[in-house]
């Protein structure tokens, strides 16, 4: 059943994107996908208003680092919670101001718990 939340999944690996989208849609989330930070930014600029962003860090064109930095600099998007799908040190997390970081392969129940928490579901 839909819970009214929208999630943006940003990953250059199509298999990862579609697996995650399937899991999230089963939980009731509406999912939009982007293959890199540039495409994700275009979606946001066109008015897509997600409740949470899940992003990889290593991507072509605009990396996850650059994407996260751009988000946190913007007064429009800085309040969108961001969960990174890659291993990060606490310093790196603090620097990027992201709300979570999960190493691959990701523990799906833990990730879902954190997503539900951040979306207020």
């Amino acid at each position: 059943m839909a819970n009214g939340c929208k999630i943006l999944v940003v990953d250059d690996d199509i298999a990862n994107r579609e697996t995650l989208a399937g899991v999230l849609e089963n939980e009731g989330y509406a999912v939009a996908m982007a293959e890199d930070g540039s495409v994700a930014m275009s979606l946001l600029k066109n008015g897509f208003d997600p409740d949470l962003i899940l992003t990889d860090l290593q991507m072509p064109v605009v990396s996850g680092w650059e994407f996260c930095e751009a988000l946190k600099k913007s007064t429009v998007w800085r309040s969108i919670p961001v969960v990174v799908l890659a291993g990060m040190t606490p310093e790196q997390r603090g620097k990027l101001q992201v709300e979570g970081a999960f190493e691959k392969p990701t523990d799906v129940p833990t990730l879902l718990f954190r997503i539900n928490e951040l979306c207020g579901v």
């Binding site: 009214g4 208003d49 997600p50 409740d51 913007s74 429009v76 309040s79 979306c119 207020g120």
Partner: protein, 572 residues
């Protein structure tokens, strides 16, 4: 940029030079335009009732020319009579001044000195006139009848030719007005004929209405002055009335210039001060009545032109075209302002000459806050409060200015610390406003918490709402900005009957949805109101729908709507 400014200056200088050099041609054209504007409404009225155009033109122009001729004849006879009396008036003035000198000192003495000089000047001119008249008689002895006739008519020929040119131009402009309008439209905006036609028609109607009304008002002003002066017993009342009506085209000071000569004559011919005082009083009372009551009532609240611009424009046209420029200044300024309002390329004219404020109240307020002029900012809101109410003023002035701040912040025109300072200053302004309006009654039966979604600006939005509901005795406990999970816990502990979430778009809506979901889950009976100012949110209906889906009971977009929702909840 510099070359652009230089080219603008060069163009302006060129325009002024053309206007000055082309005076002989341009003045009759401008006067003909003026008369065409004034005579178009009566001509159209006649045509609407079925009178053919040629007959309507003949009637309207004939009536106008006859009126002018009668008026000119009357004025001419009065001027001639006045000229003959000047010698005796100057003697009376000299005599009266001598009496004043004997009887008074100080300022009155100084005034008498000034008037004596004037008397001497008049005497000198009268003596010169006699001398010239003697010389003319000598010349006439050697001329034949035809030459005498030519010498007599020559001074009259130029004004008559001038009047004839204006008359012909006016008739043609009236007869071919649609064609003329079409050509102007073609010149100004051939690419969008429909819009240009509509705006030009409106502009022409407005100008016609304004000029016609002003002509009627000034004519009536002159007539009332003439009647009043004749009741006082002043000679040449008709002349003074006509001069007063004509001078009233000069904005602000015209009537005061017009009072000078009649009061001087009254001073000269009446034994006491009563008639002089009555003359001055008549002008002042009638001008105040017309300027403050009749004009606003007949023309609407605004003439559309700033008084200062009108005065400067009068100086400019008088300098450029002399006395005719003085008469034409107001119509030309009104035309320029109206055209500027309707023709985008000439918008600068509307801004420079119009009577609308340069900045809207919200931009004005924002600019004052940015400049740190809190006192001025308070006055901007207070002005709006005096016209409407606190809620409406906050909606019209402060809320849009917060949006401007959010926009500036998102475009990085101001940084976060500058935005925080703006919010602090606006809070100060709000406190000053609140300090002047205590609660009407204490009627809090509902516990209401204000919860900022993300930023201090969201908190300010709620403080504005609290200021409005405070007036009906309903306090809103506005919480400080804190991490959203902590904020939810803090609200749950308070168990309020109603939560108002303030969320400045576009940034605040994500957190607002989160807060709605968590609060709805924890407090199912609680009324959740989201105040989401909407002007800069492009996807506002979708945002509101998602907030309702997240658990919001109601989403409102203005302070007044939020105030209404809080009052409604309180009444339940």
């Amino acid at each position: 940029m510099r070359s652009l400014k230089v080219s603008v200056v060069v163009e302006a200088a060129l325009l002024v030079a053309i206007l000055a050099l082309g005076k002989t041609v341009l003045v009759p054209i401008a006067l003909a335009f003026y008369f065409a504007f004034v005579l178009t409404p009566p001509a159209e009225a006649l045509e609407r009732v079925g009178v053919p155009r040629s007959l309507s033109l003949l009637t309207v122009v004939g009536a106008a020319v006859s009126g002018f001729a009668v008026l000119a004849a009357l004025l001419f006879s009065q001027i001639a009579s006045l000229a003959a009396q000047l010698q005796s008036y100057s003697q009376q003035i000299t005599h009266k001044i001598a009496m004043l000198r004997e009887g008074s000192m100080g300022p009155l003495g100084a005034l008498s000195g000034a008037i004596t000089s004037l008397g001497q000047l008049i005497n000198a001119e009268a003596s010169d006139a006699n001398h010239s008249a003697a010389q003319v008689r000598l010349v006439h002895e050697d001329t034949n009848a035809l030459q005498q006739l030519e010498a007599t008519l020559r001074p009259l020929l130029q004004p008559l030719a001038f009047a004839g040119v204006i008359l012909v131009l006016t008739v043609f402009m009236l007869a071919l007005r649609e064609d003329l309008r079409g050509r102007i439209i073609q010149l100004l905006g051939p690419q969008n004929v429909t819009v240009t036609t509509r705006t030009m028609s409106e502009a022409v109607n407005r100008i016609s209405h304004y000029l016609l009304t002003q002509a009627y008002i000034n004519l009536s002003f002159g007539a009332v002055i003439a009647v009043g002066l004749s009741l006082i017993g002043l000679p040449y009342a008709l002349l003074w009335g006509a001069v007063a009506g004509l001078l009233r085209f000069v904005p602000l000071i015209g009537a005061f210039i017009a009072v000078l000569l009649p009061s001087l004559i009254a001073f000269a011919i009446f034994p006491g001060w009563r008639e002089t005082g009555l003359t001055v009083l008549l002008f002042v009372v009638i001008d105040v009545l017309v300027g403050n009551f009749i004009e606003p009532w007949v023309m609407g609240k605004r003439t559309g032109v700033s008084a200062l611009a009108l005065l400067i424009s009068t100086l400019f046209w008088t300098w450029l075209w002399g006395p005719l420029g003085l008469v034409l200044a107001t119509p030309l300024t009104v035309c320029a302002a109206v055209v500027g309002r309707h023709v985008p390329r000439l918008k600068f004219l509307a801004i420079a000459l119009g009577d609308e404020p340069g900045l809207s109240p919200s931009v004005d307020f924002y600019q004052r806050v940015l400049a740190g002029a809190k006192g001025d900012a308070v006055r901007v809101v207070q002005r709006q409060v005096s016209l409407t109410s606190l809620g409406e003023a906050l909606d019209a002035v402060v809320r849009p200015s917060l949006m401007l701040m959010t926009r500036d912040q998102s475009q990085q025109a101001i940084d976060d610390s500058a935005a925080e300072q703006v919010v602090k200053d606006v809070v100060d302004v709000l406190e000053k406003l609140q300090g002047k309006s205590g609660p009407v009654r204490a009627a809090a039966s509902l516990s209401v918490v204000g919860l900022p979604a993300e930023s201090p600006a969201d908190g300010l939005l709620l403080k504005m709402l609290a200021a409005v509901t405070h007036q009906v005795g309903l306090p809103i406990d506005v919480m400080p900005v804190m991490p959203r999970a902590e904020a939810v816990e803090a609200v749950i502990k308070r168990k309020p009957g109603m939560v108002c979430i303030g969320a400045m778009p576009p940034g605040g809506s994500v957190n607002a949805r989160f807060l709605c979901r968590r609060l709805r889950a924890a407090l199912p009976q609680c009324m959740i109101l989201v105040l989401l100012p909407a002007e800069i949110e492009a996807h506002v209906s979708e945002t509101a729908a998602r907030l309702r889906e997240a658990g919001a009971s109601q989403v409102v977009f203005t302070i007044r709507e939020a105030d209404g929702a809080v009052r409604q909840a309180m009444s339940k």
